[in-house]
């Protein structure tokens, strides 16, 4: 193992990551987007969070775990009713523990 090599790779990865975050924020209004692109960008948030969550919940590391799917459904119902993310996480974890304890 070569620490110098590891530092260089991490710094390279960091610079690339920074560029991906900064590109459009630095460009600001110097980039003009067609209306359909602008409209699509308003749906990046629901699409991104669904895309981050779905594989982990539905496929998992060892195939579909039904108790995790049910815990997610319970958490989603809570956040829809209350708009409260803390309640969402508490109910989700409590449901997961209950189902694991019941041995589902």
């Amino acid at each position: 193992m070569n620490p110098m090599r590891e530092w260089l790779i991490i710094v390279g990865a960091g610079l690339g990551t920074y560029m991906s975050r900064a590109l459009f924020l630095l460009l600001g209004d110097r980039v003009t987007m067609p209306p359909f692109v602008k409209r699509s960008l308003r749906y990046v948030a629901p699409a991104a969070f669904a895309g981050i969550v779905a594989p982990g919940v539905l496929i998992g590391e060892t195939g579909t775990e039904i108790e995790k799917v049910l815990a997610m459904i319970a958490a989603l119902l809570v956040v829809w009713r209350t708009r409260n993310l803390v309640a969402c996480m508490i109910v989700g974890m409590a449901t997961l523990w209950l189902l694991q304890w019941l041995g589902l």
Partner: protein, 227 residues
């Protein structure tokens, strides 16, 4: 300063999942034969959990620099879409802030800033951004350091790592404001599952693009706009 406090308050629940995730990464770092300080430093140099996890594993396997950096950039490519999605709110801000602020653009910060009104006052946006960003930053640095120091102390049988998907599920629900948003989320989730076997990060970016276009298409056919 009041706006800084608002940012800290709004982001507080979103910092919770950072703890189990950071502990896992910190523990993994101690189990990998690489320079521990360099690996921890990826927390402030790269500042992106999933990408750091992949980078530490690949560094441990002595993968080539090209493979490691390409993997990190693919996993982090979603940030391009985040920065494009909020770029109109940024266009009036001073350049120094756009350059510094970009560094903090994590998933959770995007979730905090995206719903803010387009005509938000500059000082309020800067305050919320720095308050939320610095809180997430500190939580992440501390959690990874704690994982290196004390190991992954959370008992595995409690599945505490599951708060990460639970939080993002909640953020998804909050970001759905009309039928088109629901379709965007459903489409992206489906594409992400179908694309799960693609190289890391690629499936997610394709899923976001397809989902966002699906939402916009439905809106064009008459759903109320996503205000």
């Amino acid at each position: 300063m009041a706006y800084y406090g608002e940012g800290v308050r709004v982001v507080a629940p979103l910092v919770v999942p950072v703890v189990p995730f950071g502990l896992v990464l910190g523990y993994l770092i101690t189990q990998t034969p690489i320079d521990q300080f360099a690996a921890w430093s990826s927390s402030w140099i790269v500042l992106a959990g999933a990408a750091q996890l992949a980078a530490v594993e690949l560094l441990g396997e002595e993968a080539s620099a090209v493979v490691i950096i390409t993997t990190v950039l693919a996993i982090n490519a979603r940030h391009l879409l985040y920065s494009a999605a909020i770029n109109t709110k940024f266009s009036q801000l001073p350049v120094w802030f756009r350059a510094v602020g970009s560094y903090f653009l994590l998933d959770q910060l995007f979730a905090v800033v995206e719903p803010l009104p387009a005509n938000i006052r500059q000082e309020r946006l800067i305050g919320i951004w720095l308050g939320a960003g610095s809180t997430l930053w500190l939580g992440w640095q501390t959690s990874v350091a704690a994982g290196i120091w004390i190991g992954d102390v959370l008992p595995t049988e409690w599945s505490l790592g599951y708060v990460v998907p639970l939080l993002f599920g909640g953020l998804m629900a909050l970001s759905i404001r009309n039928t088109a948003g629901f379709v965007a989320a459903g489409t992206a989730g489906l594409v992400a599952v179908l694309g799960a076997s693609l190289p890391s990060g690629v499936g997610l970016v394709v899923a976001i693009l397809v989902g966002a276009v699906a939402g916009a298409t439905l809106e064009a056919f008459g759903d109320e706009p996503n205000a």
